[in-house]
Symmetry: C2
Subunit: 259 residues, 2 copies
Amino acid sequence: RPKIIALANQKGGVGKTTTAINLGAALAETGHGILLVDIDPQGNASTGLGLYSENRNLTSYDLLMEGLPVRDVVHGTGVSGLSVIPATTDLSSADLDLSAKKDRSVLLRHALRRAEMNDAGYDFVLIDCPPSLGLLTVNGLVAADSVLVPLQSEFYALEGLSQFLLTVREIRGSANPDLRIEGVLMTMVDRRNRLSRQVEADARENLGEIVFRTVIPRNVRLGEAPSHAIPVLEYDPGSRGSEAYRALASELATRNRQS
Amino acid sequence: RPKIIALANQKGGVGKTTTAINLGAALAETGHGILLVDIDPQGNASTGLGLYSENRNLTSYDLLMEGLPVRDVVHGTGVSGLSVIPATTDLSSADLDLSAKKDRSVLLRHALRRAEMNDAGYDFVLIDCPPSLGLLTVNGLVAADSVLVPLQSEFYALEGLSQFLLTVREIRGSANPDLRIEGVLMTMVDRRNRLSRQVEADARENLGEIVFRTVIPRNVRLGEAPSHAIPVLEYDPGSRGSEAYRALASELATRNRQS
Ligand SMILES: Nc1ncnc2c1ncn2[C@@H]1O[C@H](COP(=O)(O)OP(=O)(O)OP(=O)(O)O)[C@@H](O)[C@H]1O
Ligand SMILES: Nc1ncnc2c1ncn2[C@@H]1O[C@H](COP(=O)(O)OP(=O)(O)OP(=O)(O)O)[C@@H](O)[C@H]1O
Ligand SMILES: [Mg+2]
Ligand SMILES: [Mg+2]
């Protein structure tokens, strides 16, 4: 079955969606089959891959709340090898809707580990989580084999990381004993800026090998690509953003071949 | 009684906390009495004003869940005229904890409109909300007289704005008929960058007068100040960030004197 990786961090605006889309596209470019699951009510990953909100008939809401199979809610994208389960704002009441269900934390885990997933052609499933530690992110962490934590090179983001890692430990101690940390990814790095260098140095000192060697630089092309509804690898294949996400895909694929 | 303004936007990382702290400090600098209420479980506004998590005995959690009066949970800061009700991670289960209470959306409104608030010396109350549309943000919008919406000059932020304004309309149609829009504030603006100019132009074209004339430029001093636990107005009083928040405070005070 595919390896399931959650993109999660309760700090907002750190690059979860940007990483889900562009890491997904870079892995697809090197021949991997990728499923991107958007469970953020904002639906940014869906928009960034060209699924306009009026075309999202069946979504991750239906996967979670109605128990529909993946094949009924999956949509193709313009990127060969990359499919997506889109999100809509229906999910914003998920915390309340899910709280009444008995098995509220494992719904996504069950949906993504059904027999149909073993021969659907996916090597990786990437789950884009919202900026909170509510039931949607909990579902993402319980469903996942590992979590990739984008870390913006800013003070508040570093401060929130220890809280986030405590939550991962809690989930590992309860609903998902096999949950591992895929890695911490430095994002929006600007090595000319002292604060950015300091945050990166602090993260590597405290977390060591967990921090990916690849860093994602601040690159305006990454901000422009979503308005064209394509990954940066198609929008501007030679940009520093594209190069960084290709390097990340290669580092991640190597880490996963070795283990 | 003081005017209550919520800083809210479900998009993450757009400058809610940075605006709450620095607008608060700029208003205090010009003689206004300011209470900052942190209802984000991340507690960034509390940290950014020097309230380390081990010193946050009584917090916004106690205000909401235990019904304690404001005077029992308020803390002073290093900025004269600026007090804060800090947040802790206890709030991250608020969506579930609050969902069981009958009056779950009006708890903060009741707490901030008690008779004690009429002669506590506050001119403005600023509420820093988390990046979601859950019960904490709903409490902020129901408690507020108006909402100030920071808008990062990025594509996803602009996309999320229409969803956010729908939510404001829903709250106005139900629990808080007097809720107004204080304004939309352009943040992290970089006029050298085409995307940033375009987002600002789109916002002004679609929203007109609602958008503050003052814009907040991208300025690294704003990102550095929180690691020193002081507002940017104290960290680097001559910086472009400080000047912008002083200009915003003056524009906001003028708007409020006229009406
Ligand atoms: N390396 C980068 N360089 C420049 N801009 C970036 C970079 N990474 C992300 N961005 C932009 O920064 C903003 C925040 O990124 P993104 O939306 O991916 O973060 P997020 O963690 O998914 O946010 P949220 O918490 O709201 O879900 C977006 O507008 C995005 O286009
Ligand atoms: N104008 C600016 N220039 C440069 N950096 C900024 C600016 N405004 C905010 N920042 C930095 O950008 C990051 C995001 O800002 P902030 O945390 O205030 O946003 P937020 O909306 O409160 O985020 P969240 O959604 O997680 O609550 C922070 O690290 C902050 O220091
Ligand atoms: Mg996102
Ligand atoms: Mg904040």
